[in-house]
């Protein structure tokens, strides 16, 4: 199999296009909150764009916490090989 074949995703500009696509999609989903009737169980669900903001914030929190955990928990690959 040839190594030099160019794929669409090899072009960094195309990756940027994908990212912008995602941003636009998120924008549409955020605005969509204005156009349907909610059936909330909890007050938080009534906040505009709650699920989007929640998802973004907890994921950033998750990754940054995991990064701190890595400082404490990371060992060499042969840690258990006596």
């Amino acid at each position: 199999m040839s190594d030099d074949r160019k794929y669409w995703l090899d072009d960094r500009q195309n990756i940027t296009k994908v990212v912008w696509g995602l941003v636009i999609l998120c924008g549409i989903l955020f605005v969509a909150d204005a156009f349907y009737d909610k059936h909330p169980h909890f007050i938080a669900e009534t906040y505009f764009g709650f699920f989007g903001i929640f998802g973004f914030v907890v994921c950033v929190g998750l990754v940054l916490t995991a990064k701190v955990m890595r400082i404490l928990l990371k060992r060499g690959e042969d840690y258990y090989d006596d």
Binding site: V63, R70, K74, R75, Y80
Partner: protein, 561 residues
Amino acid sequence: MTINPALILILGAIPIPLLRGPFRASYLLILPLIGLGFAFSLEPGLHWSVNIMNYDLELLRIDRLSQVFSYIFFFAAFLGNLYTLKDDDPVQQIATQVYAGSAIGAVYAGDLITLFVFWELTAVSSVFLIWARRTERSYQAGMRFLIIQVGSGVLLLGGLILLVRDTGSIAFDFLGVTSPGTALIFVAFGIKCAFPLLHNWLQDAYPEATVGGTVILSVFTTKLAVYALARGYAGTEMLIWIGATMTAFPIFYAVIENDLRRVLSYSLNNQLGFMVVGIGIGTEMSVNGTVAHAFTHILYKALLFMSMGAVLLRTGTIKGSELGGLYKTMPLTAAFCLVGAASISAFPLFSGFISKSLILTAAADEGRWLTWGVLLFASAGVFHHSGIKIPFFAFFAHDSGRRVKEAPWNMLLAMSIAATLCVGIGVWPQPLYNILPFPLDFNPYTTPHVINQLQLLFFSGLAFTWLMRTGYYPPEMPSVNLDCDVVYRKLLPRLARQFFAKFEALDQLTRRLALECIQRLITGIFRRTGPQGVLTRTVTVGAMVLWVIVLLGVYLVLYLI
């Protein structure tokens, strides 16, 4: 008497070594399907009662709960056999049939003694899927796995004995944590279900199994435990926070783990958490949710493990730091992996969505906002590490330059069947809803529900993209992350070594002093009672005669006087 479908698999393992080539392959594909056919044909009720030593053993209890688990177990055995069809390894193939069969036998068990027997049989048979990799590392991991699994069985037996002493009953129905006996059984189930702090055997052992072994392992052991908890402990409040913890903490590890099959093991643990919460809530809706989630989870998790297995098979590594760009030469595997990723992330139209929704809705219906919030966090997190990280680092990310062949046809076929079902159940959930334990009237596809879920997922994806682009995302790097197995793999052995090192010195000293005392005692005794001792000196006959003559002489002299 009706045939127990579990025995079809267990006894069906016997002729495997005698069959060769296409005969063995066909046999392995047909065997679980025959079992599945029998499972479908069984009517609810108790079909096989045996009285042994005044205990009524129920070997084949058919009800809606046992039925749904038996269906998916048989089908997963079929998928597993298809996936491993090209492995000419009778040990692994026999182990698979016995393992799947005993898990099904445990699901059919109507009493705790039968449950115990099959419970231990799953432990003993499954370890061969780890050992089948035939490396020192897998041998060690298998040993740890076996000790913990058999330990779970021993606790089950202990609890069973206490329970029989208290109540005289061996029936396996609702138990509840009400006595020492039922508490022990609860812990036994908890070990197999990978409760927090009892969980680490899973992440330790599963990634060390063979390519196909991990797929098969991911199906049975933990879902058997979920079944057992649903049967015995539905509505146990404690399970809600145990489950919520399980959904949340493994995802932190999943983010920084480099071995992608270990990442999947952490996310398996997280998915079990959702099921455990459903059992803890204990309403009809939530228990249905748990069962539905176990069903869909078996398929998408097996699919994810299959795709990573194919990567391991073709590249020889499964470390995120060494992979990337594989979509170029493994496009089908990548596509199937993406279907699995979308399903575990609960995207609308994929299977995870229609099952996880039941559990979240049940939590919300009960007004449990904290549980609901944790589950929502875990839902976003699972997308982050299983939905994005797994396909991203294996198939996309930086190009590793590896240009390997696409997976073999049997693996692709197994993945395509699992992927079709993931989409099929997601699009058309009603057939699954119809076989759940309780009647269910639920529509997951309401506008708010779909939009809210999409918001949650896409914004999580946005967070990943932002962290990646800005360089905040922790890179994949070769490492081991400490989890609680450090206690029994490092800490306890070290403590034991230190103890024995100190103990040895003390031991030497004590022994030397004791030997010295004994030596002195012996010398003392010897001096007094040895050949030269005052008390035991020997005297010759001649000397004796001389003394007698002397005494007689003295006597004679005295007499004369």
